[in-house]
């Protein structure tokens, strides 16, 4: 089917500058229908700035941005009526109950009152909060609030869901609760754009990833391909390596990162890293593991602290 190849988002050379600071510096990407696209990057990489332009929160400084085929500068209202947005901060309405939060939000989309209640109750069931429908939102836990924000973003049956760090600050249980819901939505064919700095989240949910830093796109691709290309297959980490190890790595030309007290060696499948390096040098503090997205991320964006 060619229909599945429809562009939901088309961003060409997107730029955002304010107060003399360039937050987004010529970013181009697209999101296809039914796809879950992840924007990864350290703090200040320009992820949030990029998606804030998508829902008209901050005007673009340059470039072209089309959502559902409409130019964002012309058809913003129409575009927003088909979006579901989970902003980074929990901005639930503390003056209203759990159910009212959904009902009042539905009014903003001109959803008829009769439909609203059923839809709201259905969504509360989906996020397993139907037993708390009359409670004040401030009495909910962080994870519950996050799920309610998700339900609120779904009240208009959106064609594109935008999630800005949906699980930041949640405990593992709450995080998995959110992921499960997102996986269900994804399975139903909803197009999703997500920003995160949790690699596990990105590799679990996303079909395709974009890694950003300092307002630019570093790489883009499917998670497995990115791992293979930038971190290989197997990883051996040796703490306080001796010169022998370093010499071996250099002579064999292994992909590696040499830190002060640690060497991280990345090997492709054929390089049989565990046998070649592992058996000989893994005596004490040494880790043998599979390469992960975190390796890719750190290799591309560096290991220095941000901010």
């Amino acid at each position: 089917m060619t229909e599945t190849r429809t562009n939901i988002i088309e961003a060409i050379n997107l730029r955002k500058a304010y107060n003399g600071f360039v937050a987004v510096d010529g970013v181009s990407f697209n999101l296809l229908k039914g796809e879950c696209l992840g924007l990864l990057g350290p703090n200040g990489a320009g992820k949030t700035s990029t998606i804030r332009m998508l829902y008209g929160f901050s005007p673009m400084s340059g470039g072209i941005l089309r959502v559902f085929g409409n130019d964002i500068e012309v058809g913003l209202r129409q575009i927003k009526s088909r979006l579901g947005v989970c902003q980074q901060e929990n901005n639930l309405d503390p003056d209203l109950s759990v159910l009212e939060n959904l009902q009042v939000f539905a009014r903003y989309f001109n959803i008829p009152r009769k439909e609203t209640r059923d839809r709201a109750l259905q969504l509360l069931k989906f996020i397993a909060l139907d037993h708390r429908k009359d409670d004040k939102v401030m009495s909910l836990s962080g994870g519950m609030m996050r799920r309610l924000v998700l339900a609120r973003a779904l009240i208009n049956n959106p064609d594109l869901l935008i999630l800005d760090e949906p699980t930041t600050g949640l405990d593992p249980q709450a995080r998995h609760q959110v992921w499960e819901r997102l996986e269900m939505l994804r399975a139903n064919g909803l197009s999703i754009l997500i920003t995160t700095h949790y690699m596990e989240e990105a590799s679990r949910l996303c079909d395709r990833l974009i890694i950003m830093d300092q307002g630019k796109i570093l790489v883009a691709g499917e998670p497995a391909d990115l791992i293979e290309q930038y971190a290989g297959d197997h990883v051996v980490e040796i703490v306080n390596p001796d010169d022998e190890v370093r010499e071996l790595v250099e002579s064999r030309g292994f992909m590696h990162d040499s830190l002060e007290h640690r060497i991280i060696i990345y090997g492709k499948k054929a390089e049989r890293l565990f046998e070649v390096v592992g058996e000989q040098f893994c005596r004490q503090t040494c880790v043998k593991r599979m390469a992960s997205l975190e390796d890719v991320f750190l290799r591309l964006t560096g290991r220095e602290l941000r901010e």
Binding site: F57, L76, R77, D95, F105, N110
Partner: protein
């Protein structure tokens, strides 16, 4: 990018913001009703019983007016000012800054201008509701002449719109919620005292009289007093026009300042 006029971004969806605030208001309607219900009683008791033993009559348009008749309409005007101004300063600021309610709404088909318009119209509505209650109480004392007194209701809405747009303009520039003390001290309190509210402006020095004609509250008080007295004169239209023009200036100003504050 073509710069659109801020008012061009307003749609009828602003009513959704208004109705959100109404939903919240109705939750504690009793508390919301108590203030306009009892406040005039307190004022009338203090000034009417306490002070009017010293001041029996106040000159008004060549007549002598009993002191209660003089201040009752001013209390209505002050209520209009307070309700709209406080709603669009403190209450709007809390929704914007602490609750991030505006952020959430702006991710829906509503524009920032819809949100701000809804907030201002809501502030005027709140002023109107308070006026209805207060007018009823004051009427029980026989201090309002009807049917002219009914015109106080549209006046309350107009006055509410004006003080709401002024309040919202301050909300657009104020760095923190505590700083609202400043516009209240510089703008609201002088008007509260020197707009012909508790004593006639004619008792003031000439320069102060001139200054007080600039005060929008002076015009609101004049109109309210004339309507309570059933004393309608063509000259009052200038006061209506003054309030309308001031609103027409402050409304786009509020939109511009809020856009500058929230959209980066």
């Amino acid at each position: 990018m073509i710069k659109k006029l801020p008012v061009a971004n307003i749609s009828l969806r602003f009513i959704r913001v208004w109705s959100r605030n109404l939903t919240v208001y109705k939750k504690i309607w009793l508390v919301n009703f108590l203030v306009p219900l009892f406040e005039p009683l307190l004022y009338l008791a203090a000034f009417g019983v306490g002070l009017s033993t010293f001041i029996e009559k106040v000159p008004y348009h060549g007549k002598d007016l009993p002191y209660l008749d003089f201040i009752a309409p001013a209390l209505i005007a002050i209520t209009i000012m307070y309700n709209a101004f406080f709603e669009n300063t403190y209450a709007s600021f809390v929704r914007m800054y602490y609750q991030k309610t505006f952020d959430a709404i702006m991710a829906t088909p509503l524009s920032l201008e819809d949100v701000i318009t809804g907030e201002i119209v809501w502030g005027a509505t709140k002023a109107l509701i308070a006026t209805v209650i207060m007018l009823a109480v004051i009427s029980l004392f026989g201090l309002v002449s009807y049917p002219e007194g009914l015109l106080i209701l549209p006046l309350a809405f107009l006055g509410g719109l004006f003080f709401g747009t002024v309040g919202m303009s301050f909300t657009g520039v104020i760095p923190s919620v505590d700083m609202f003390n400043l516009p209240i001290f510089l703008f609201i309190t002088p008007m509260f005292l020197f707009s012909g509210t508790f004593f006639p402006v004619s008792g003031l020095p000439q320069w102060a009289q001139t200054l007080s004609t600039v005060f929008p509250l002076t015009h609101l008080v004049d109109l309210s007093r004339a309507l309570c007295q059933g004393n309608l004169q063509p000259g009052l239209l200038w006061s209506v026009l003054y309030l309308m023009l001031s609103t027409a200036v402050c409304f786009p100003l509020a939109l511009i300042l809020m856009r500058r504050r929230l959209i980066q």
